[in-house]
């Protein structure tokens, strides 16, 4: 556990464990997607996951949120064991926020309604209060003036920022991002990354699947490289990019950073 110890010295990262995954395995039918995943995430840690397409990055993230069920091993999120008990699932989901590649905003609701929906119906918050919170986070992602528009009226970058705000409104303690910028035009990627950086600065625990290596260098405490359903390498960003240990990582990095 030398690495975990090393990290706990970094300011903003506490000793508390936010997510702990032990011996987790997952199959789709006969296809073994995730194999023996062990991962411990400290509160306040910011982890970037990368790897080639199909390596199981999304699946890993989605298992943490119980969007997919795993078949073996344990996932403990914030002290709650992820089991088939609906109550536990609900508890975990309301502590874990998630942002998808394609934003998945609700197109029939305004931005504000998108953000207040879950607080009102899940947290049973009064509408007024929910709206105040929503406006607070919309300001944080710098689009308070779009609150009454519909998602279809915003650009992709704005939509992704709304998606982030929507998750934040549930005041999650952990945020998961699944390639949040890969569906965006080059001009819009920056807006979203900036938002994520500012989240990171606030000390939010983050797990982020992304290929934006600039972002990884800038904010990650740890970079995890996955291939064929396994964690192949994990390290601090500097080390990871400059001295990749495994051949597979080297190959991957050369492709990504290549052009």
């Amino acid at each position: 556990m030398s690495m975990a110890e090393a990290q706990s010295n970094v300011p903003g990262i506490s000793d508390e464990v936010a997510i702990s995954i032990t011996g987790m395995n997952k199959w789709y039918g006969d296809f073994h997607v995730l194999r023996d995943i062990d991962l411990t995430v400290q509160r306040g840690e910011r982890i970037v996951i990368c790897g080639p397409s199909g390596s199981g990055k999304s699946t890993l993230i989605r298992c943490i949120n119980a969007l997919e069920e795993h078949q073996k091993g344990e996932i403990v999120v914030d002290g709650t064991l992820l089991s088939s008990d609906l109550k536990n699932i609900d508890k975990i989901r309301s502590e874990v926020g998630m942002c998808f590649q394609h934003f998945n905003l609700f197109p029939h609701l305004t931005i504000l309604e998108n953000c207040t929906l879950a607080p009102i119906w899940v947290r049973k918050m009064p509408k007024k209060e929910a709206e105040e919170i929503a406006m607070h986070y919309l300001e944080k992602v710098k689009i308070p003036d779009q609150a009454n528009k519909y998602p279809g009226q915003l650009s992709g970058g704005q939509q992704q920022r709304v998606a982030i705000a929507r998750s934040l409104c549930m005041r999650p303690r952990i945020m998961l991002f699944d390639e949040p910028t890969s569906a965006l035009d080059p001009e819009m990627i920056k807006e979203v990354l900036d938002t994520m950086v500012s989240l990171a600065e606030d000390g939010m625990t983050m797990l982020c699947v992304t290929h934006e290596m600039g972002f990884a260098r800038q904010v990650a405490n740890r970079v995890i490289f996955m291939d064929a359903g396994q964690i192949v390498e994990q390290n601090e960003p500097e080390e990871f990019f400059n001295n990749p240990k495994s051949d597979r990582t080297q190959l991957f990095l050369s492709q990504i950073l290549g052009h």
């Binding site: 989605r62 949120n65 119980a66 969007l67 609900d90 989901r93 309301s94 874990v96 926020g97 998630m98 998808f100 394609h102 998945n104 905003l105 609700f106 197109p107 029939h108 929906l117 879950a118 119906w121 899940v122 049973k124 528009k149 519909y150 998602p151 279809g152 009226q153 929507r166 998750s167 549930m170």
Partner: protein, 439 residues
């Protein structure tokens, strides 16, 4: 060549070129005709053929319309007066086309109910209508029933009470246990209406207060009108509107059931849907007319209109379920996942996220089912109900109008065309609106 940039190594435009209007291409009728009707040899031939066809139609049908008669006692008189159509029959029999054999002096009641339909429908059809009108929508079935069938208001009130009761229970439980709340409230409703006889009990109490119209004058009571006497377009509208409004929720539930992970529920729904869609509506009407009595406890007879409504509803619901299923399937998986990841439970996700979108997508299909259902109501003439098509029979049998046909069928066809066309145009409007919505 182009000196503009050939002269400079790097071409840089310094000034903006202003927008200019498009070149004045020739306009006018000649161009339109050439582009739209005579753009090629084939098109010219087609155009000429079409014009010839229209000409023949007008030549044949025109005089029939121009030389029509609107006032005559019987067909013979019509024929004497003029050579064309004899619309006098419509003139004489229109009350039957509209109301069947509804008592003449009570006809204002269905008319009033029909007028009330508009405020009741407004909040459903147009999202700009004031929300307060929803109350009218909810009360409309009961008021309309009372107006059309008459009798004391006690009965519809008693039934309404059952719904209110069920709603209150649902509301109380829904916060904590949505699934159970739904089941319990439906159970309460069924128990209230059927088993315990709550409705009858309450009805009697209310009658006690208001007075029983059968014993003498009573408050808030109309003369009762038998289902048998209701006919014509009134019957079509009753069947159509009731079945449509019942079929929609049932269809949605069936669609959700069919999409469900729960195998047994899924197959129950699939079986029901495929069975209903596999047989002609007329056989279902046979069942309503002939077999239903066998499948109910001895002695329960209920109104033929109600029986037909049940069957038509089941029929439409099965078709609706397929349409809604299409809408559900068209939603990106991400919407379900986003709802899940926010912690919404199944019913919340359905009610807040999935259904509003799925229904929007399926509106054209839903309206098509409605149009189909509305048209299908004429099938009840086969089981000898006096719907607009059925009402033609006694007119044909009348010695005054023996031999008249086109005028009657034409009138009925016109009515259906107006209603169905209006519906399909409305769905087009919705489609258009939803496509541009939020963009």
């Amino acid at each position: 060549m182009s000196d503009t940039h050939a002269n400079t190594v790097a071409f840089v435009r310094e000034t903006q070129i202003p927008q200019s209007p498009p070149p004045a291409t020739e306009r006018g009728i000649v161009k339109w005709l050439r582009e739209n009707m005579f753009s090629s040899v084939l098109n010219s031939i087609l155009s000429l053929l079409s014009i010839f066809f229209i000409f023949m139609l007008i030549k044949d049908l025109g005089p029939w319309f121009w030389n029509s008669t609107w006032n005559a006692e019987n067909l013979a008189e019509c024929r004497e007066l003029n050579s064309g159509a004899c619309f006098a029959v419509i003139n004489e029999r229109w009350p039957q086309f509209f109301f069947g054999f509804y008592p003449a002096e009570e006809r204002w009641r269905p008319v009033l109910a029909f007028l009330l339909l508009f405020p009741a429908l407004a909040p459903v059809l147009f999202d700009k209508a004031p929300r307060a009108l929803l109350v009218v929508t909810l009360l409309f079935p009961f008021v309309a029933y009372w107006l059309i069938w008459g009798g004391s208001i006690a009965f519809p009130l008693a039934v309404l009470l059952g719904f209110v009761l069920a709603f209150v229970i649902w509301k109380a439980l829904a916060k904590t246990q949505p699934t159970i709340a739904l089941i319990v409230s439906v159970l309460v409703l069924v128990l209230y209406q059927l088993v315990v006889g709550g409705a009858g009990l309450v009805e009697n109490i209310l009658m006690g207060i208001l007075g029983n119209p059968e014993d003498g004058p009573a408050l808030l009571a109309f003369e009762e009108v038998e289902s048998r006497n209701i006919g014509g377009f009134l019957l079509t509208l009753i069947l159509g509107i009731t079945s449509i409004s019942l079929a929609l929720p049932i269809g949605i539930l069936l669609a959700l059931g069919r999409q469900s992970d729960l195998i047994i529920i899924k197959y129950i729904c699939v079986g029901f849907i495929e069975f209903i869609r596999g047989v002609p509506l007329i056989t279902l009407l046979f069942v309503a007319n002939v077999l239903l009595a066998y499948f109910l406890p001895p002695g329960t007879t209920f109104d033929l209109i109600l029986r037909v409504v049940i069957m038509v509803t089941a029929f439409a619901a099965a078709y609706l379920a397929e349409v809604v299923r299409g809408g559900l399937a068209a939603l990106p998986r991400g919407q379900y996942e986003a709802a899940d990841s926010l912690g919404l439970d199944y019913w919340q996700a359905m009610q807040l996220i999935i259904l509003p979108q799925a229904l929007k997508i399926s509106i054209p299909g839903i309206v098509n089912v409605f149009i189909g259902l509305f048209k299908d109501t004429v099938l009840v003439s086969i089981i000898s109900m006096y719907d607009p098509l059925g009402i033609v029979q006694p007119i044909l049998a009348d010695s005054d109008w023996n031999g008249i046909l086109w005028e009657l069928y034409g009138f009925v066809a016109l009515f259906f065309f107006i209603f169905c066309y209006a519906m399909s145009q409305y769905s087009r409007y919705l489609e258009q609106k939803l496509r541009t919505d939020h963009r």
